[in-house]
């Protein structure tokens, strides 16, 4: 996969990436950190602006795309050996056995050893959800545990 990189005098740098079916993603990096994201549907078409981001938002988007984004958590509350923990994202399906139950009812930590460190619901992020927090279908649980614990957790949440 080729990334085309060009200097844009007086502006910054431009990157282009083929994204399939003749379309290209165009990223314009301004000197001041501002980032414009375009999509060019075909070589003959005009690029359409998708996003105009300041440097903070651009960095965050970049780390999300890289899979390296997570909210910082209070590690003192966690019972995972240092270095052994990984963070996972677990989506709760319509038929998941834990859907409709609170975290305390589901008792996931005791069963699997995994801590739910945040829940993404729509546009909202609930950091450090309490035991009374009710899990709903469509929630995205951000979880911390060892690889083995994470596997058990995913099984526990999957529809039976």
């Amino acid at each position: 996969m080729t990334v085309y990189e060009t200097d844009v005098p007086g502006v910054g740098r431009k990157f282009e990436l083929d994204v399939g079916r003749g379309a290209r993603a165009v990223v314009l990096l301004h000197h001041d950190g501002r980032v414009e994201l375009f999509r060019r549907p075909s070589p003959e078409a005009d690029s359409q602006k998708v996003f105009d981001l300041d440097s903070t938002a651009a960095n965050r988007l970049g780390s999300i795309l890289e899979g390296a984004y997570f909210e910082s958590v209070d590690t003192e509350q966690l019972e995972i050996p240092v270095g052994g923990g990984i963070i996972e994202w677990v989506e709760i399906g319509e038929n998941s056995p834990v859907a409709g139950r609170t975290l305390a009812e589901a008792d996931l930590r005791a069963e699997t050893g995994v801590s739910v460190i945040a829940v993404q619901r729509g546009d909202e992020t609930v950091p450090n959800p309490a035991g009374g927090f009710e899990i709903r279908p469509g929630d995205l649980l951000v979880t911390l545990g060892t690889r083995k614990q994470q596997a058990a957790f995913a099984d526990r949440c999957a529809p039976e």
Partner: protein
């Protein structure tokens, strides 16, 4: 000190108002700054508004604006990029130079300018405005599409031409007698060779010069280097703009290039605004009325010549018809460089300098607006060209 400070305050205030007006209208700030200068200057048509005189401090800030403007262009000047696509850039750039420079020179002679003054007029109508064009490319989103490569390629070629042209023109204008011109040319050449050598071999020195964690120290050092070199150049009879350009190119080769751009952009914008204002201050609306006839010749002819050379340039760049039309409309705007050339004519005390300045001001006012408007309504131009020359109707090779 109260009076100069108040005058400076008024000057910046009218620039601020001009900026608001330009932003509202969706147009470049350059014509707005010039108009603001005319309006509050000594030659204003509204005597009650004559608040800012053409004083030494305005001249100095304007001079700093020219130095930083060209320093920044040099900083951005990327020789490797130019060489990487030199075939296409050179072809499009040479078409641009031959067509517009040639027609400019022909028109200048036709309008009764002779030798050196005709060269000034040719330069004024040849060079497009990087500032106006780049801003509009970003506003319209063309910056993401291939036509911007061709447009910016031509602009980079023009930068090189203008650096050499200003050096020669500066020597011709500042040198006086034939021997003086020869000496000036020699000094200018020596200066450029020294700065190019600095770019080639002096990178470690420049790196060390700017090695500091403090942004404040960094800024002071960069401005000191640019202004000192510009000042020494001017004292030696070389265009300060040319010296600043080559110094900028030398700094562009160091690892500090990005940081210099970040730190110095606001200074450049501030002083460049004063430069445009000072051009307005020096302009007599009466003199503008006196150049209406030459403008009526220059504007339509050089607008069409830029459109033609731009279209051809786009085609040699390998772009299709529609994108080539965009390159054509994208190169029409003239701006800061035309004014730098006119300012040089005034500094050198050239015969008919006042007329050249008035001509440049009137020309830039019209062409910067026309260029922006053409780019904004490029959809209609593209449709018109497609109707006149349907792409499908041409015989396939």
């Amino acid at each position: 000190m109260a009076a100069p400070l108040l005058e400076a305050g008024v000057a910046f205030a009218v620039l601020a108002v001009g900026g608001v007006v330009a932003a509202r209208a969706g147009l470049s700030v350059i014509p707005a700054y010039i108009a603001a200068g005319v309006l509050v200057g000594p030659n204003t048509p509204v005597p009650a508004l004559a608040l800012v005189s053409e004083s030494e401090f305005i001249d100095l800030l304007a001079e700093l604006g020219v130095v930083l403007l060209l320093f920044f262009i040099g900083l951005e000047f990327n020789l490797e990029r130019l060489l990487a696509s030199r075939d296409r850039i050179t072809r499009a750039g040479v078409i641009d130079l031959v067509v517009n420079g040639g027609i400019g020179l022909g028109l200048a002679f036709l309008l009764g300018f002779s030798s050196v003054t005709a060269l000034f007029v040719a330069g004024i109508v040849y060079i497009s405005s990087s500032a106006v064009i780049t801003k509009t490319l970003i506003d319209l989103g063309w910056i993401a599409d291939p036509e911007s490569d061709a447009i910016l390629g031509v602009l980079v070629f023009e930068d090189v031409v203008i650096a050499v042209y200003l050096a020669v023109l500066g020597a011709l204008a500042l040198g006086g007698s034939p021997e003086g011109v020869a000496v000036s040319l020699g000094v200018a050449l020596g200066f450029i060779v020294a700065l190019v050598a600095l770019a080639a071999y002096g990178t470690p020195l420049l790196e060390r010069l700017l090695a500091t964690d403090s942004d404040e120290q960094f800024l002071v050092r960069v401005v000191a280097a640019a202004v000192l070199v510009g000042g020494v150049a001017l004292a030696a009879g070389v265009s300060e703009a040319v010296a600043a350009f080559f110094l900028g190119a030398a700094f562009g080769g160091t690892s500090h290039a990005g940081r210099i751009e970040r730190v110095i952009t606001s200074e450049r914008d501030l002083y460049a605004a004063v430069f445009f204002l000072s051009i307005g201050l020096q302009t007599d609306p009466g003199a503008l009325a006196g150049v209406v006839v030459p403008l009526a010749v220059l504007v339509p002819v050089t607008a069409v010549s830029k459109l033609a050379s731009g279209y051809l340039g786009g085609r040699t760049y390998g772009l299709n018809q529609r994108r080539s039309v965009r390159v054509a409309v994208g190169l029409v705007a003239r701006g800061e460089f035309s004014l730098v050339i006119a300012a040089l004519a005034v500094t050198a005390g050239l015969p008919r300098a006042e007329e050249i300045l008035a001509l440049a001001v009137g020309y830039v006012l019209v062409m910067s607006l026309l260029g922006t408007v053409l780019m904004r309504s490029s959809g209609r131009v593209e449709a018109l060209v497609a109707r006149l020359r349907p792409p499908e109707a041409r015989p396939t090779p």
